[in-house]
Amino acid sequence: MSRKGSASLSTQKQKKKLGSEHLQRLIDQCKTVEERGLDPFMVNVDDLIAVVREYFPEWESIDEYSLDSEAVNRLASVIKLQSDWIKHRSTSLYTDPFLIEEKLRKLSREKLATLFLHTWHPIIELEQISPHSLNEAIKYWQSLLPLNERWTKTGAQKTELGSTTRNDLVAQKIIAEQAFTEELETFWHELTQRVGENTKILYWDFIGADTYEETSKRAYMTSFLVTYGYATLEIHRLEEEIFIIPFSKPHSLTAKKQMISIPVEVNYEEWKQWKNSKHA
């Protein structure tokens, strides 16, 4: 007896599941017709109403009733679209869209424009200034300084002519000492020299310098070496070691492999630790 009871319970559950799926499909179908402007008669309303009616006695929870009411709502929208479609067809405005499209494609721009001018009756409208904006304009005008006062304020100051050198500009950090690519290539040569006969060098051994500022700059340049394909990184996660491997020729990495970003922290504490271990 209890086995029979549990069997009927599972059948009911299955029916409910099937019903929900059916309703969801129905909602999606109606939505597609509505949103994409498809022919509303693609939807067989009678069949869909039969589906809604079939599963209605099964619903118990609020969610199930909500789904049911959404399906009915969507069906009503499709029926409205069908009614609009019939109304439009019965009006004098109805013409086969394909026929109109064909004609529009055939006509020249000039002919189309001339034809349109016969049916175009533009609106006549006059722009006017409101008392409020007139008041604002007067306020603005009154707050303006006379031209001679404004000009003296923005006038250029007369100074003695002088000259500057490239070194002055470098010292003022207006221009870099070397072009960036030049600097990068010099850095790459340094890397290959430092690696020597070995194939790789420890990351910190390469970027580490006497000052923290210099170390940061070297880490910054190294990131460009890797990004532009002059070198690559080898990461030993368990040992927590990072090696830099220089290439003999720059590699073009784009589009061949999925590029990934590797964050490497270069903080002051770490730099201090590295420096102490180096001197020890």
């Binding site: 949103e35 994409r36 402007g37 609009d84 479609w85 439009h88 004098s92 405005l93 013409t95 086969d96 869209p97 026929l99 109109i100 499209e101 004609k103 529009l104 494609r105 055939k106 006509l107 721009r109 000039e110 002919k111 189309l112 424009a113 001339t114 034809l115 349109f116 001018l117 016969h118 049916t119 175009w120 009756h121 533009p122 609106i123 006549i124 409208e125 006059l126 722009e127 006017q128």
Partner: protein, 199 residues
């Protein structure tokens, strides 16, 4: 004598209302031009349809007319006061522009051709067409880079509106300015002429 005096006062009253209606209709006071029926009723009184009728007769001499755009579809019978209250009234050109005069509107000939295509195509699609379809059609007549710009311009001017699904609809300015039926009829007639010539 009394009757004549009453008639004179009424005439003066209507003349005042005519002037007020002219100011209301010609000057743009909101973002969109035109005046709602209920606004006219408030300013001119409940007999505003009569005032508009008189003004329309006067404007005919100037090749202008008062265009009524109903909220929904144009009623087949005489509109009720309620429908008129909800409608919007504009002053439009009664006749049409010549190609030379079009230059004054600031629209190029291909902008106008594009607008004609867009509106005619949307009418044939029951007033709703997907932007992709319209763009594809416009590419036939306009350079690719101008298609998008032109469509956005038509939307900004109020000829079309667009929803979040990239569907285009005919908007208020199309209903106010364009004789949709005449446009479709003219398009059909052009092909008729061609056929006749071919025969």
């Amino acid at each position: 004598m009394e009757k004549q005096q009453t008639r004179m006062t009424k005439k003066a009253q209507y003349q005042r209302k005519l002037k007020r209606a002219t100011h209301l209709l010609f000057y743009k006071r909101h973002r969109r031009p035109g005046v709602k029926g209920w606004e006219l009723r408030k300013r001119l009184g409940s007999d505003y349809p009569k005032v508009l009728g008189l003004l329309d007769t006067y404007l005919e001499k100037l090749d202008l007319k008062i265009k009524t755009v109903f909220e929904t579809e144009k009623p087949t019978e005489k509109p009720t006061l309620e429908q008129l209250d909800r409608a919007r009234f504009f002053i439009t050109l009664r006749g049409s522009l010549t190609p030379k005069e079009t230059k004054m509107s600031g629209w190029r000939i291909d902008d106008i051709a594009g607008l004609a295509m867009t509106i005619a195509f949307t009418i044939s699609k029951k007033g709703k067409a997907s932007r992709d379809e319209v763009e594809n059609l416009l590419r036939d007549k306009l350079p690719g880079w101008r298609v998008d710009i032109n469509l956005d311009r038509y939307i900004r001017a109020g000829y079309l509106s667009q929803d979040e699904n990239q569907q285009l609809y005919l908007d208020w300015r199309t209903r106010a300015e364009i004789d949709e039926k005449a446009l479709v009829d003219l398009l059909l007639a052009v092909e008729g002429e061609k056929k006749e010539k071919a025969q």
